[in-house]
């Protein structure tokens, strides 16, 4: 991991920065839910993989981090959101 990270050129980070800004701008200008969801996921992926260097970590660590966050978040939303619909109807 360390060697791969040290070899990451600075321009990679600044290219990622430009992409993040472009996605943010697209999200603000369109405001449509599908674009917002796709934009949030794309931005989170870019930050995690390139800025946090998750792409160069071992697969078991990646699975623990992403699996832990996504599985629990999905469970949280899945258990809580339906109650909101029930209350609103």
């Amino acid at each position: 991991m360390d060697a791969a990270m040290s070899a990451t050129p600075y321009r990679t980070y600044w290219s990622a920065w430009l992409v993040l800004l472009a996605i943010t701008l697209a999200m603000v200008l369109t405001g449509s839910p599908p674009v917002l969801v796709a934009g949030m996921m794309a931005k989170a992926t870019i930050i995690a993989l390139w800025f946090m260097h998750l792409r160069t970590e071992r697969l078991d660590l990646v699975l623990i981090v992403l699996g832990g966050i996504f599985a629990t978040s999905l469970a949280l939303f899945g258990l809580i959101a339906p109650d909101g619909w029930e209350m609103s109807s």
Binding site: T24, I47, M52, S88
Partner: protein, 205 residues
């Protein structure tokens, strides 16, 4: 084989264990675990926000409540500070102290500007009558969730600025390691990552 001897071997065979779990240092592994648990805190907040949003018969119009250009500028600044942080980590890894300190300084500046803008936004909303228990837009949960979620995030940014300042001072004195700066970087990028969802869910939906 004794149990004492078998346990380290089993750890090595699975997660790497020993002094290098998952092929990284213990410090870095613990930072990742902290990030996972902290992410779940914000997931809980955003799930609560989702519940309120779905359950509420109406919700304040974001274009009326927020200055979207201002919030977008805040977002740009935080994203830019992540890029400067990544550059600082790369420089620290390459033992380029001067570049590392310069970009740590720029990251601190970005964090301070973000905090200043958030303070301005908060004072604008408070000035308009928004409180934890009510607001002029008729949905009490709106301002309670807003102040709680952005307040927790802002606290994370403030702590990040403090840790960055300590890292920069240590680097100036030559008492730093590439991995130390990298750990600070992981935290800072996480703060940026959380804002992606706060910004998307609270300001754009």
């Amino acid at each position: 084989m004794t149990v004492a001897a078998a346990v380290p071997m089993a750890m090595e065979a699975r997660g790497g264990g020993g002094t290098s779990p998952f092929g990284i240092s213990w410090q870095k592994a613990m930072m990742w675990f902290f990030i996972v648990t902290d992410a779940l805190l914000f997931a809980g907040f955003l799930a609560a926000y989702g519940f309120h949003r779905i359950a509420a018969p109406s919700w304040p119009d974001r274009r009326v409540v927020f200055h979207m250009e201002f919030i977008t500028a805040m977002t740009f600044i935080l994203i830019s500070s992540s890029a400067t942080m990544a550059t600082a980590v790369g420089a620290a890894r390459a033992a380029d102290t001067r570049t590392a300190v310069r970009f740590l300084g720029l990251t601190i500046l970005g964090g301070l500007v973000f905090l200043g803008m958030q303070a301005y936004e908060w004072s604008s909303l408070i000035g308009a009558g928004a409180r934890l228990d009510g607001n002029p837009w008729g949905v009490p949960g709106f301002s309670a969730l807003f102040f709680t979620i952005t307040g927790f995030h802002g606290t994370h940014v403030a702590i990040g600025v403090l840790i960055l300042a300590i890292a920069a001072l240590r680097a100036l004195r030559g008492r730093y390691s590439g991995e130390g700066v990298e750990l600070v970087g992981l935290y800072w990028h996480f703060v940026d990552l959380v804002w992606v969802f706060v910004f998307g869910c609270f300001y754009l939906v």
